[in-house]
Subunit: 156 residues, 2 copies
């Protein structure tokens, strides 16, 4: 089964221009072309395209995806290098998840605070030691700033 760039575009929801761009950047070395230069996608290419979309959405740069794909093309001798790349990506994913979960709590705090403000007609004050407000984190930085200011005074 062979598919045109249009068909692949519609089914996977990736614009033809993007597929051509990917090809130009070396992300699609597996896609075959007719002697006239027309791309002919095949069933097996779908798995590659899904992998590319996953890696991209996880934050991998196009140039790094190109590198990963080229390693795949080189065969089993590159498994170790590919393993390290994916391991590194996974660490990034873990960090992203951790950060997002924490941020979610902060946003939740703000949402809760806004709701309280509405309920009390603007007369609500959150406890300063409320976890996940930004104020507590700010305090740490402000301390650092005060120390810097102190040192400047000493120097004079």
């Amino acid at each position: 089964m062979k598919y045109s760039i249009q068909t692949i575009s519609k089914v996977l929801g990736i614009p033809p221009s993007t597929l051509r761009y990917y090809d130009k950047e070396g992300l699609l070395p597996f896609v075959e072309k007719t002697s006239a230069g027309v791309r002919q996608f095949k069933d097996a290419d779908i798995e590659w395209l899904l992998t590319i979309e996953c890696l991209k959405q996880c934050g991998m740069k196009i140039s790094d995806i190109a590198k990963y794909i080229s390693l795949c093309e080189k065969g089993n001798s590159t498994i170790n290098e590919r393993y390290l790349m994916l391991q590194n990506l996974e660490r990034n994913i873990n960090e992203q998840i951790k950060f997002l979960k924490n941020s979610k709590k902060r946003i939740d705090f703000k949402l809760w605070f806004y709701q309280k403000l509405v309920e009390t007609d603007g007369n609500f004050m959150a406890e300063t030691n409320e976890s996940y407000s930004f104020r507590n984190d700010a305090v740490d930085y402000i301390e650092k700033l005060h120390k810097i200011a102190e040192n400047k005074n000493k120097a004079e």
Copy 2:
């Protein structure tokens, strides 16, 4: 306590050029300036900067952060609009977390597969119905593609 752009930059790890860029884009309307035009950061600004960094890292665009900050500046009458913005951001965060968690399992599958390949000296074949491999997802798309191909044949 007043701090220079340098000091703030060092303590928060944001380059002065970025802080100036933020200011230009309307993210720092709260930062005061001397009559000569020199920015004078104060303790209270830290909380704002932390909020900005959080929103940015959660995927909010600079222009949207500017809009949010400007709503904050307008006072309590804009709480509803701010609430909706943060609620929307939270939905995005939830989607991101969901996607990343799923992707993590896929990457894990690939890592496991690479390990098996190394252990078996390249003679390992994963079960096709292994969850979180990309092959299973690909099958769904390939089915769609086959249906499209069928319809084309019918039309001839």
